[in-house]
C-alpha cells in the first residue's frame, strides 16, 4: 500500500514507524485471548434483564413473586432494590465541572418506561435459561402512554413530555461575524437539508462480563468495556466506597463507542453484591440491538454563501439531533457537531444553532466520530453543490478555502499544528487516476470527494490526564502498566513500541498489563481518539524518566558521561562501543538503591470553559484532517450503487505502527461506507424493527472495495513523536464522498442516509409515486 512520508522524521527511530506485528496477534489467531464471555467463575450464577416492550408507558404494578418462586432463582431485583438508582455518566475520573453535560440514566425503570428495551428488572439464576425464564415470569402491568418519536415533533408545543423538565435536552450556539448579512450579500447561496439515521455499533462481541466478590471484600467486575473508570459508577449505585469496586477490562471484541457507556457492569455489580456469588451476564445480539444506545440521527440545514470566485463568505447551520429517551452523552455529541459544523474551511461569517431533543426512541450516545462525523454529509454536500453552481472543480474549490495552520475556527480556536486539508484532498483525488468506464450501458460512473476534520482528545476544560508505569525486571526485560483498554485498534501494542523506542529494546522484550482499575495506573477512556495521544504521551514521559535514571547508573559503570550513552539492543552503549547489558545495570541499580521504574502522569493542555457563542478560544486540544475520494458506479435501472475505488488520505502526524494506522483507516472507511450505503436501525413509533443481524445489515466483504490508505506524516500531532489519533477520523468522509460521486454520475443529489437503491431509484424517477 502506498505510504509516503511528507515530512521525514529527523531523528533516527528504530521501533516507532515500523510495521510491528502486535504482541496480541498470535494469541488472537490461535483464539487464546479470553474475551469477557470466555471467563467463568466457580459456582457462578447467570444474570438476565427484563426489558420494557413499550416505548412509552407507566408501570402500574410489578409482581416479581412468580420469578422468585422458581427453583434456582437467586435474586430478582427491581428499581426499589437499587441503593442509588441514578447512573451519572459524567466523564470518568476527570473534573465534574461540566454542569448540564452530566447525564442521568436510571439503572432500572422506576414507575415509567421511556423507550422500548428499557431495563425494568434483573434476575440471577443457576443457568442462563433459568434466568431468562424467570425474567419472563415477572408480572408487569403497563399503561401505554402517548410518546414522541421525532425530535421536530418533540419540540413542538403540546408534545408529550419525555421528562418533566421538557424535551429540549441541550442547545449550543456559535456566532462568528454576521452570517445573515453576509449571506444576503453573497453572490451565490446554496441551501440544503440533510438527514442521517440511527445506526448501531454492531461490534461482533456482544456486551458481556462476570462479577465476583474477592477475598478482600472488593467487588470485581471483568467486563468488555472502553472505560474501566466505570468502577466509580458501580460504586455510587451500590453505595460503596469507590475503592471497594474494581473493574478489569480484557481485550475488547470491538467497541466503537458502544462500550463507552455502562453496559452490563452495573447489573453484574448489583446481582453479585446481592447474592454474594459470582454472576455472569452476556447480552444476546437481539438484546444488544434492541436496547443499546445508537448513533444520533440529525437533521442538518445548511446555507452556504460564496463569491463568484468561489471564496466562502458565510455558512449558517441549524442542527437538530435525536437524543432518544435519556441524555447519555448527547449534550457533548452535540457540541462536537456544533464546533465542526462549518467544516475544515475558512469562513468569515458563521452561525450554528444546535439542539438535541428527547424522544421515546432508543437512547443515542457515543459512536465513532461522536457528532463531528455526521456534519460531514452537510458541509461536504454543500461544497459540491457550490462547486457545481460556480463551475469550479470540486478539488479546487476546497483547496481555495481550506484551513491552514494559524487560521481560527469559528469558536476562536487557533489551529497551531499542520492542517492537511488541501494536500489530502489533492492527493486522494489524484490517486484515483483515470476514470473507469461503466460496466454496461445502463451504468454510469461518477467520482466524489469529501474532506473532514475530527477532534482528537477530550474537550480541554475536562482537564484530561493519563498515567503509566514503566519498569525494568532484573533480567532487563520491561513491563508497562497502564489503565488503557485495548478495543482492537492496537492501543497496547503501540504503547509497547513507544517504550521500546525510548529504552532501546526489541519490542518483544516489553510486556504490557492494561485496563485493571486496581493494578494499572488510570489512563482514562479508550474513546475520543485519545489513547495514542494521552497514554502514548504518558508512556513516553515515564520511559524518558526511566531512561535518565538508568543511564546515570550505566554511566558510572562505563565511566562515561550519561549524555554520551545510547540505549540499544538491551544495553547501554558508550561512544567507543563499550557496552553494559541492562541486566547488569539493574543489578547495580538494586545495589545502589536507584529505582528501576517510573510513574508518569501526562496532563493534556487544559482550559476553562468558553462561551461558544461569543468565541474566545480552545475547545479541543487538536484536530485531525483528511479526505476520501471514491469512484462509484450507479445502475440507472435499479438505483444500486457500487463503490469501485476508495482512497482514504489522513494526516496521522506520525505513524507509530503503519500497519495499525492502515487497519484503522480501512476499517473506519468501511464502517463509514456502511453508514453511507446500508446501515439503519429502523424504528416504527419507537419500536425497533432491526433487532436481528439479518435485519441490521453491516458491510460484508462483497459490499465494499479494498480501501486504499494514503498516510501523511506531518510530524505535528500532539501525541508522542508528533502522532495524532486516527481511530475516528476515517469513518466520516465516505458517506458524503459517495453522495457527491452519485451526483457526478447521474445528476441527482441524495440528501438522506443510508443511500439505499430505493432512495437512488426514487431520485432517478424510477418509481412513479401516485
Amino acid at each position: 500500500m502506498a505510504r509516503q512520508v511528507l515530512h521525514p522524521p529527523k531523528e533516527r527511530l528504530r521501533v516507532v514507524g515500523q510495521r510491528v506485528t502486535r504482541h496480541d496477534a498470535v494469541d488472537k489467531v490461535q483464539a487464546r485471548t479470553l474475551y469477557a464471555a470466555d471467563w467463568e467463575m466457580p459456582a457462578m450464577l447467570h444474570g438476565a434483564v427484563l426489558r420494557s416492550p413499550y416505548p412509552s408507558a407507566r408501570i402500574r404494578r410489578i409482581d416479581p413473586s412468580p420469578a422468585r418462586a422458581l427453583p434456582g432463582v437467586a435474586a430478582v431485583l427491581l428499581a426499589s432494590d437499587v441503593p442509588n438508582n441514578t447512573l451519572w455518566t459524567d466523564v470518568p475520573g476527570q473534573t465534574s465541572e461540566v454542569g448540564a453535560l452530566r447525564a442521568r440514566i436510571h439503572v432500572l425503570a422506576d414507575g415509567v418506561v421511556r423507550y422500548q428495551g428499557e431495563p425494568v428488572a434483573l434476575v440471577a439464576a443457576e443457568t442462563r435459561e433459568l434466568a431468562q425464564q424467570a425474567a419472563e415470569l415477572i408480572v408487569v402491568e403497563y399503561e401505554p402512554c402517548a410518546g414522541v418519536f421525532d425530535p421536530v415533533a418533540a419540540l413542538q408545543a403540546g408534545a408529550p413530555k419525555v421528562h418533566d423538565e421538557g424535551n429540549l435536552l441541550a442547545s449550543w450556539k456559535i456566532r462568528c461575524g454576521d452570517s445573515e448579512a453576509a449571506l444576503a450579500r453573497a453572490a451565490v447561496v446554496v441551501e440544503g437539508t440533510y438527514r442521517c439515521q440511527f445506526i448501531d455499533h454492531a461490534y461482533l462481541e456482544p456486551e458481556s462480563g462476570v462479577a465476583w466478590i474477592d477475598s478482600d471484600g472488593v467487588l470485581v467486575i471483568r467486563v468488555s468495556t472502553q472505560v474501566i473508570e466505570h468502577f466509580r459508577a458501580v460504586a455510587e449505585v451500590l453505595g460503596l466506597a469507590h475503592n471497594k469496586v474494581r473493574v478489569i477490562g480484557p481485550y475488547v471484541g470491538g467497541g466503537f463507542g458502544g462500550k463507552e457507556d455502562v453496559t452490563v457492569e452495573v447489573f453484574l455489580g448489583l446481582l453479585a453484591w446481592r447474592t454474594r456469588r459470582p454472576v455472569k451476564m452476556t447480552w444476546t445480539r437481539q438484546e444488544s440491538l434492541l436496547a443499546r444506545p445508537k448513533r444520533h440521527p440529525f437533521v442538518l440545514r445548511y446555507r452556504t454563501g460564496a463569491t463568484r470566485e468561489g471564496e466562502l463568505v458565510a455558512q449558517a447551520v441549524d442542527l437538530l439531533a435525536d437524543s432518544g429517551a435519556y441524555a447519555y452523552l448527547s449534550a457533548l455529541v452535540l457540541m462536537y457537531a456544533a464546533v465542526t459544523a462549518a467544516g475544515p474551511y475558512r469562513v468569515p461569517h458563521v452561525s450554528v444553532q444546535a439542539r438535541v431533543a428527547y424522544t421515546n426512541n432508543p437512547p443515542t450516545s457515543a459512536m465513532r466520530g461522536f457528532g463531528a462525523m455526521q456534519m460531514v454529509l452537510g458541509y461536504e454536500s454543500q461544497m459540491d453543490q457550490l462547486a457545481r453552481r460556480l463551475g469550479i472543480d470540486p478539488v479546487e474549490l476546497r483547496v481555495r478555502n481550506a484551513l491552514v495552520k494559524g487560521d481560527r475556527l469559528p469558536i476562536g480556536q487557533e489551529l497551531d499544528t499542520h492542517v492537511a486539508v488541501a494536500e489530502a484532498a489533492r492527493r486522494a483525488w489524484d490517486a484515483l487516476g483515470p476514470r473507469p468506464s461503466p460496466s454496461t450501458p445502463e451504468h454510469r460512473v461518477g467520482r466524489g470527494l469529501a474532506c473532514n476534520m475530527q477532534p482528537y482528545g477530550r474537550i480541554v476544560w475536562l482537564h484530561d490526564w493519563a498515567s503509566a508505569w514503566v519498569g525494568f525486571e532484573m533480567d532487563g526485560s520491561l513491563v508497562v502498566r497502564t489503565g488503557t483498554p485495548d478495543v482492537g485498534g492496537g492501543q497496547a501494542s503501540s504503547l509497547c513500541q513507544i517504550a521500546a523506542e525510548v529504552l532501546g529494546l526489541d519490542v518483544g522484550r516489553v510486556s504490557i498489563h492494561i485496563a485493571d482499575s486496581a493494578l494499572t495506573p488510570l489512563a482514562g477512556t479508550t474513546t475520543a481518539t485519545r489513547q495514542l495521544y494521552m497514554s502514548g504521551n504518558a508512556v513516553l514521559q515515564a520511559s524518558t524518566v526511566l531512561r535518565r535514571q538508568i543511564l546515570e547508573v550505566a554511566a558510572r559503570m562505563l565511566e562515561t558521561p550519561a549524555a554520551a550513552l545510547e540505549m540499544r539492543e538491551g544495553a547501554a552503549v558508550a561512544p567507543h562501543g563499550q557496552r553494559v547489558a541492562l541486566a547488569a545495570v539493574m543489578k547495580e541499580c538494586a545495589r545502589s538503591g536507584v529505582s528501576r521504574s517510573a510513574l508518569a502522569v501526562y496532563h493534556a493542555p487544559a482550559g476553562d470553559p468558553i462561551d461558544l457563542e461569543h468565541g474566545g478560544g480552545r475547545v479541543f486540544p487538536d484536530y485531525a484532517f483528511g479526505a476520501h475520494a471514491v469512484d462509484v458506479e450507479v445502475d440507472t435501472e435499479t438505483g444500486h450503487v457500487r463503490v469501485l475505488r476508495h482512497i482514504a488520505c489522513h494526516d496521522v502526524g506520525r505513524a507509530i505502527n503503519p500497519q495499525s494506522v492502515e487497519g484503522q483507516i480501512q476499517g473506519g472507511a468501511v464502517m463509514g461506507l456502511g453508514y453511507g450505503l446500508m446501515e439503519e436501525v429502523v424504528l416504527d413509533h419507537g419500536v425497533n424493527l432491526s433487532t436481528l443481524f439479518a435485519t441490521y445489515l453491516i458491510p460484508s466483504s462483497l459490499d465494499v472495495p479494498d480501501v486504499e490508505p494514503l498516510i501523511v506524516e506531518s510530524g505535528e500531532g500532539k501525541g508522542p513523536f508528533g502522532a495524532r489519533g486516527i481511530g475516528e477520523p476515517p469513518i466520516a468522509p465516505p458517506a458524503a464522498a459517495v453522495a457527491n460521486a452519485i451526483e457526478d454520475a447521474v445528476g441527482v443529489r441524495i440528501t438522506e442516509l443510508p443511500i439505499t437503491p430505493e432512495r437512488v431509484a426514487r431520485a432517478l424517477g424510477l418509481f412513479r409515486d401516485p
Partner: protein, 159 residues
Amino acid sequence: MNERAVAFILNGQSREVHVPAHHTLLDVLRDDLGALEVKEGCGEGVCGTCTVLLDDEPVSACLLLIPRVAGRRITTVRGLGEGETLHPLQEAFAINGAAQCGFCIPGMLLTAYAFLRDHPTPSREEIRRAIAGNLCRCTGYVKIIDAIARVADGRAGRG
C-alpha cells in the same frame, strides 16, 4: 429435559456429551467442552463468527442442534496448526495485521482454510466471495484478504 448422549470427534479427540437435544453445537462447545475458541457474535446464523468445520466443511455452530453432530468430526481453530506451531494462515493473519479486535478471526480462519483447501490458487475476487459470510467490523477486510492471498500465493509458488 430430553437429554441425549452425543458422541463426536473434536479436533481429533473423541468426546461425548449428555445434553438437552435443543442445545446447539455452539452451546455444547463453549459451555460443556470449554472450547472457548469458538465465539458467538449473533447466535442466529448470520455473522459467521461461530464458524467451525463439520466433517471439513464450514458451518455455523450456532445453527446446528447437537444431535446432528453425532458421529461426525468437528474442527475448531485449535485444530489448525500443530500444537504451538501456527498454521500458515494463522501466521499470515498475524503478520499482516488481519486481526484487530480478533473476535471474528477464529471463524474467518476456518472459512479461509476450507476455501484454500478447495481452491489452491484463487483470485482476489474469489477470496472476497469466499469470506462474504464472515462479518468483520474492524478491519475493512483488506488485510484479511491480503493474508489469505499471501498463503495462496505461497502455495502456488511451491507448486
